[in-house]
Amino acid sequence: MKIATRTVADVTILDLMGNIKSPGDMEDFSKAIEDELGLNHTKLLLNFHEVGFINSSGLGRVVLAAKKVAAKAGVMRVMNLAQDIDDLFTFTRLKEKIGVFKNEKDAVESFR
C-alpha cells in the first residue's frame, strides 16, 4: 500500500491508499506509524478514503498503532471509512476506542 503524509495545523494526516491485508501492507502501515512517532508526531489522523478492505490482521495493526500512540500520550483518529470498514469498526467496538469521523474538518477539529 502507499501512504502519503501531510500536516494540517498540528495534526499529521496519513493518507492510506490500497488494501490493508498482506504482510507487506502491514509492514508499510506500521513503519509509517513508527516514523511519525519517531518524529514526535503524536496527533495522527488516518485517512481511509482510499482503503477498500482491511482484514483482521490489518485491524490488529490499527489497534496496535492506537496503543503505541496512546503510550506516547498521543491521540489517533480515523476518518473517511468505507461502509464495510465502518461496520467492522462498529461491531468490534473500535469506534469507542478510536475516534471515527466522516470528514477531515471534523476530524482535525477533534484534536483541539
Binding site: 483482521s56 490482521s57 485491524l59 490488529g60 489497534v63 496503543k67 461491531f91 468490534t92 467496538r93 473500535l94
Partner: protein, 548 residues
C-alpha cells in the same frame, strides 16, 4: 582498444633498428670511401709532382737553356712525352702570356698534332696577376716552383713554374741583359690511370653501398616475415586451444627466443587458467554438494514440520466436535477449512445442564500456528468454565482478561458464544468483534442479523462485553461464520464474496438441509474464488430449528 602506432609495433621497431644499423654501416662505408679517395689523390699528387719535377729539372730546364729560338719546339717535343699535361703558358714577369701571335700558336698546335692552344689572341692575356706572390717568388729566387691547388671540381691541379732568363746562348737577342724575363707555367691534372683507379674505387664503394642497403632490406623482410609467421602460429594455436576448450594443451615452443618466451609465458598463463578451472570446478562441486546437503537437510526439516503440522492439524480437528449432540428440536452441521495445515478458527457445540446447548465459534486474527495456539487457549477456558458459568458475556470477559495478558498487541480473537435453551428456544449470546450471525426463517423468509457490538477479545483487558437474547422460532436457521467466507476474494483479487452473497445463498437454500446448504455455500465460494487458495480460514456452523 586503440590501434598502436607503426613504431610501437614489432615491425616498426625492426624497421627503426635496421635503419639505425644500416645508417651506421653506410656512414662507415662512406667514411672509408672518402678516406681511400683522399689517400689516392694524395698519392697521385705526390707521384705527379715527382714526374713534373723530373721533367722540369731533367728535360725542360736544359732545353730552356738552349735559347728561345728552339724553346717552343723543344718544349713541345718534351710536352708530348709528359702525359696529362693540361696547360702550358709562357708568361712574362708581369703575368701576361707571351707568344700570343697566331704564328706561334699555330706552330705549337702543329707540333702537338692537335689543337691544344685554341686561343688566337691579338692582345696579350693576363694569366696571373702582376703581383702574384708565387710568380714574384720564382722571378726573385730564379728557382722553379711546383705546387698544387684544388680545383672547383674537387680535384687537384699541379702547377709548375720555371723561371726563364736570357742566357748567353740567346744570341744577344736581349742584349747582355740576362734578367729573368718570364716564367714557364705548366699545369697537370690526374693521369687517366689515376682517374680509372678512382672510378674503380667509386664503383666498388657504390656496389658495396647498394649491397649493404639490399642486405638491410632483405634482413628486415626476413626478420619481420619470420617473426610474423611465428607469432601468427602462436595466435592460431591459441585460437584453436580456446575454441576447443583445451586448456590442458600447450603451445609448441620452437625456439628459446623472444617469441619462444612469449609461448612459454602463454603456456604458464593457460596452466594458471587450467588450474583455476580445476579449482573452480572443485569449488562448484563443493557448493553443489553443500546446496544438495542443505536442500536435503531443509527437505528433511520440512518433512518433519509437515508431519508435525499434520499432527497438529489432527489434534486441532480433535478439538472440534466429531459429532454433534442430537436433539429432536435442532439439527447441527459445520464446515471447517483451514487455509494452512492448522488454522485460527474454532467452533464447538456442547451439551449443558437442563437441556441447554453451548454454541461457540472463535477466530484468531491471522492464521497458522500462532492463531491456532490462541484458539486452543480459548477452547481450554470455554471447556473448563462453560459448565460453571451460564452467562456468555462473563465467559467472554474471562477469555479477554486472560488473552490480553499474553497476546501480542496486534493479535486478538473474535468470538461468538451462545447458550441455547432447547426448552424455550431462547438463546443468550455474546458477540465479541465477530461477524454478526444470520438467522433465516425458512418458513417466512425473514432474515435477521444478531447484532450486538462487542470489542475484540485480547486487546484491552478493561473491555466489557454484553449479553443479548434471541428467541428462535420454528423453521429458523442460525448461520454462524468467520470472516474467511465474506472476505474471500475472486481470482482478480478485486471482489470479495461479501455478506450480501452469503445472505443470497442462505436464502436460496431454504428448502435444503443444513448439510446441503453448507455444501452449496462452499461450492459457491469455490466457484467465486476460481479454486484459488483461500487467504483465511473458513468456518461455518449451521443450526436448523425444526419447521413446525
Amino acid at each position: 582498444m586503440p590501434k598502436p602506432g607503426f613504431f610501437s609495433t614489432l615491425k616498426g621497431k625492426t624497421v627503426v633498428f635496421i635503419i639505425i644499423l644500416s645508417t651506421a654501416a653506410l656512414s662507415t662505408l662512406g667514411a672509408m670511401f672518402l678516406h681511400t679517395k683522399h689517400s689516392l689523390l694524395s698519392e697521385f699528387e705526390e707521384e705527379r709532382t715527382g714526374i713534373v719535377e723530373h721533367f722540369v729539372i731533367e728535360t725542360l730546364k736544359p732545353v730552356m737553356l738552349t735559347g728561345h729560338a728552339d724553346i717552343m719546339s723543344s718544349i713541345m717535343e718534351s710536352y708530348k712525352r709528359i702525359p696529362d699535361l693540361e696547360g702550358l703558358h709562357i708568361i712574362r714577369t708581369d703575368g701576361v702570356e707571351a707568344f700570343t701571335d697566331g704564328a706561334t700558336l699555330g706552330k705549337v698546335n702543329r707540333l702537338l698534332g692537335e689543337e691544344h692552344f685554341r686561343r688566337q689572341l691579338k692582345n696579350p692575356v693576363q694569366v696571373l696577376p702582376p703581383d702574384d706572390p708565387t710568380l714574384a717568388q720564382v722571378v726573385r729566387t730564379e728557382k722553379e716552383k711546383v705546387y698544387s691547388k684544388k680545383t672547383d671540381g674537387g680535384g687537384n691541379i699541379t702547377y709548375l713554374m720555371l723561371p726563364i732568363a736570357n742566357e748567353p746562348a740567346c744570341h744577344g737577342c736581349h742584349g747582355s741583359d740576362h734578367r729573368i724575363r718570364g716564367v714557364l707555367m705548366a699545369t697537370f691534372g690526374m693521369t687517366s690511370a689515376d682517374r680509372s683507379t678512382l672510378t674503380d674505387i667509386s664503383w666498388f664503394f657504390g656496389i658495396a653501398f647498394a649491397l649493404l642497403l639490399a642486405t638491410a632490406i632483405l634482413t628486415y623482410m626476413f626478420i619481420t616475415r619470420i617473426m610474423a609467421s611465428r607469432v601468427s602460429s602462436i595466435v592460431k594455436q591459441v585460437n584453436t586451444l580456446v575454441a576447443n576448450d583445451r586448456f590442458d594443451d600447450r603451445i609448441l615452443i620452437d625456439a628459446d627466443d623472444e617469441v619462444g618466451q612469449l609461448a612459454i609465458a602463454f603456456n604458464h598463463f593457460i596452466s594458471s587458467v587450467e588450474l583455476y578451472r580445476v579449482e573452480e570446478t572443485k569449488e562448484k562441486e563443493r557448493l553443489e554438494k553443500a546446496v544438495f546437503d542443505k536442500t536435503k537437510e531443509l527437505r528433511e526439516k520440512n518433512t518433519f514440520i509437515e508431519v508435525d503440522l499434520k499432527l497438529a492439524s489432527r489434534i486441532q480437528q480433535k478439538l472440534m466436535p466429531e459429532k454433534f449432540p442430537e436433539y429432536p428440536e435442532v439439527d447441527f452441521h459445520a464446515a471447517y477449512i483451514p487455509c494452512l495445515h492448522i488454522g485460527g478458527d474454532y467452533y464447538d457445540v456442547f451439551e449443558m445442564p437442563n437441556r441447554h446447548v453451548g454454541i461457540f465459534m472463535a477466530d484468531a486474527s491471522g492464521h497458522g500456528s500462532s492463531a491456532a495456539l490462541l484458539v486452543s487457549i480459548v477452547k481450554a477456558i470455554v471447556s473448563v468454565m462453560a459448565e460453571h458459568i451460564s452467562s456468555p458475556s462473563y465467559i467472554v470477559q474471562l477469555i479477554n482478561t486472560t488473552l490480553a495478558k499474553i497476546t501480542p498487541d496486534d493479535s486478538f480473537v473474535t468470538l461468538f458464544y451462545g447458550v441455547l435453551d432447547l426448552k424455550t428456544g431462547e438463546m443468550q449470546y455474546s458477540l465479541a468483534g465477530h461477524p454478526p450471525p444470520l438467522v433465516h426463517n425458512r418458513n417466512t423468509g425473514e432474515m435477521t442479523m444478531l447484532q450486538i457490538n462487542g470489542g475484540l477479545v485480547g486487546v484491552f483487558d478493561f473491555d466489557k462485553f454484553d449479553d443479548s437474547v434471541y428467541v428462535f422460532k420454528g423453521g429458523d436457521r442460525l448461520v454462524i461464520y468467520t470472516d474467511g467466507i465474506v472476505e474471500a476474494c475472486n481470482n482478480g483479487q478485486k471482489l470479495m464474496f461479501g455478506e450480501k452473497k452469503l445472505v443470497e445463498v442462505v436464502k436460496g437454500e431454504k428448502d435444503s438441509s443444513s448439510a446441503e446448504m453448507t455444501a452449496h455455500l462452499l461450492s459457491s465460494l469455490d466457484k467465486f474464488t476460481g479454486g484459488a487458495t483461500l487467504a483465511d480460514d473458513v468456518t461455518l456452523l449451521v443450526v436448523d430449528f425444526k419447521k413446525q
